[in-house]
């Protein structure tokens, strides 16, 4: 295949994976907002929904302007439909976050169901003497050490989206998702 075509495909699929990842992050953050009854996290979900809309439009325009041959078109119809699905997932996440934004105190069973799920969500405050303090996320290697993903960092009233060069500070609340088994490992790292 011509190199140019391959490049075009790469770009489309990358945009799709971005949509997919964002929609899944929204779900995790939405559950986190319930778990912590946190307006900031719920607002972050709503902000991400706007970002999804923009991303989705760009993705569709890119597919439409890619001039596929007839025999290729079907394979990309599947991709267009997958894009629509990510929007649906994002909507569901926004619906969960809306409960918090409406000022409804999350029912205790919601908290229990989230904590007991196979893929759990947890939060931990970083202590002064933690090995994580003043490390960047990249250097902290939390997924490798604990199997937990950092979804967001709460610093005071602010909610920070994690980037590899984000620096962890003492007092930060790390919100993470992963299998229940990693929870203890994360707690040991953050609050020894």
């Amino acid at each position: 295949m011509a190199e140019k075509t391959q490049k075009k495909f790469e770009e489309i699929v990358k945009r799709f994976v971005d949509l997919k990842d964002t929609s899944e992050l929204m779900i995790d953050l939405a559950y986190s907002s319930l778990l912590l009854n946190s307006r900031e996290l719920a607002e972050e979900v709503q902000k991400l929904e706007e970002y999804m809309d923009k991303l989705h439009t760009e993705f569709e325009l890119l597919v439409l302007s890619s001039k596929f041959k007839k025999e290729e078109a079907k394979g990309f119809l599947g991709l267009i439909r997958l894009g629509v699905v990510t929007e649906k997932i994002a909507d569901a996440a926004a619906q969960i976050a809306e409960v918090v934004l409406r000022g409804l105190e999350p029912h205790p069973v919601l908290k229990l169901a989230i904590e007991e799920a196979e893929e759990t969500i947890t939060y931990v405050q970083v202590a002064e003497n933690s090995v994580l303090t003043n490390k960047t996320l990249k250097d902290a290697r939390i997924p490798e050490e604990t199997g937990m993903w950092i979804l967001a960092i709460k610093r005071g009233d602010k909610c920070i989206r994690p980037k590899p060069d984000s620096k962890i500070q003492a007092g930060d609340i790390l919100i993470a998702s992963g299998y229940a088994e990693g929870e203890d490992d994360l707690k040991k790292l953050a609050a020894p």
């Binding site: 295949m1 391959q6 495909f9 790469e10 489309i12 699929v13 990358k14 799709f16 994976v17 997919k20 899944e24 779900i27 939405a30 559950y31 319930l34 290729e72 079907k74 394979g75 990309f76 119809l77 599947g78 991709l79 439909r81 997958l82 629509v84 699905v85 649906k88 997932i89 909507d91 569901a92 996440a93 619906q95 969960i96 809306e98 409960v99 409804l104 105190e105 999350p106 029912h107 069973v109 919601l110 229990l112 169901a113 989230i114 007991e116 799920a117 196979e118 893929e119 997924p143 490798e144 604990t146 199997g147 937990m148 993903w149 992963g178 299998y179 229940a180 088994e181 990693g182 490992d185």
Partner: protein, 202 residues
Amino acid sequence: MNSFEKIEYKPIPVRELLREMKNLSELMIDLAYSAALFNDKELAEEVLELEKRIDTLAYHLEMTTMVAARDAKDAEALVGVSKVASATDKISDAAADIAAIVTQNIGVHPIVSEIFERVEERLAKAKVHENSILVGKELGELELAPRMGVDIIAIFRGNNWIINPKETETIKAGDVLIARGTFEGLKELKALCEGKMDKLED
């Protein structure tokens, strides 16, 4: 015509219903993307089956919350539960939409699959080689989740899919595993399956 399971009220705790709906909806999304990614119709069919299960659970949850609300205060406390449950139902519908792309023969272009598999970092498929140290081990004893943050969500064996396999499931040579987890963990799992790594790290 679809066949629908008959619904009768059962006193199932809301907490259990919610937990199962949350677990299933997330499992379905991962299985559905895997079905699309690996263009696997049987796996897509399994997703559609799970969707029926969630629909039934949603009915039960709705009835339970109705029974539980005695006054306006209860209703305010419970409306959030019902909204969250309906969101998990929506997520499972989305997963079913993905599965339908596969069962209706639309599929995704092989080039898309190839790139997707490379770019996507949270799902992987690996065939268990006969030399792999995983052969003959139970999933539970491998402790993949605590060791490397990886969970086996489905196994393809002898033309059948085993969905969300139990801890007691023994891995056999020739099994195809679908796993979700961290990028590093999945890389390790692939090496273990291929027999390129002969030790589990702690």
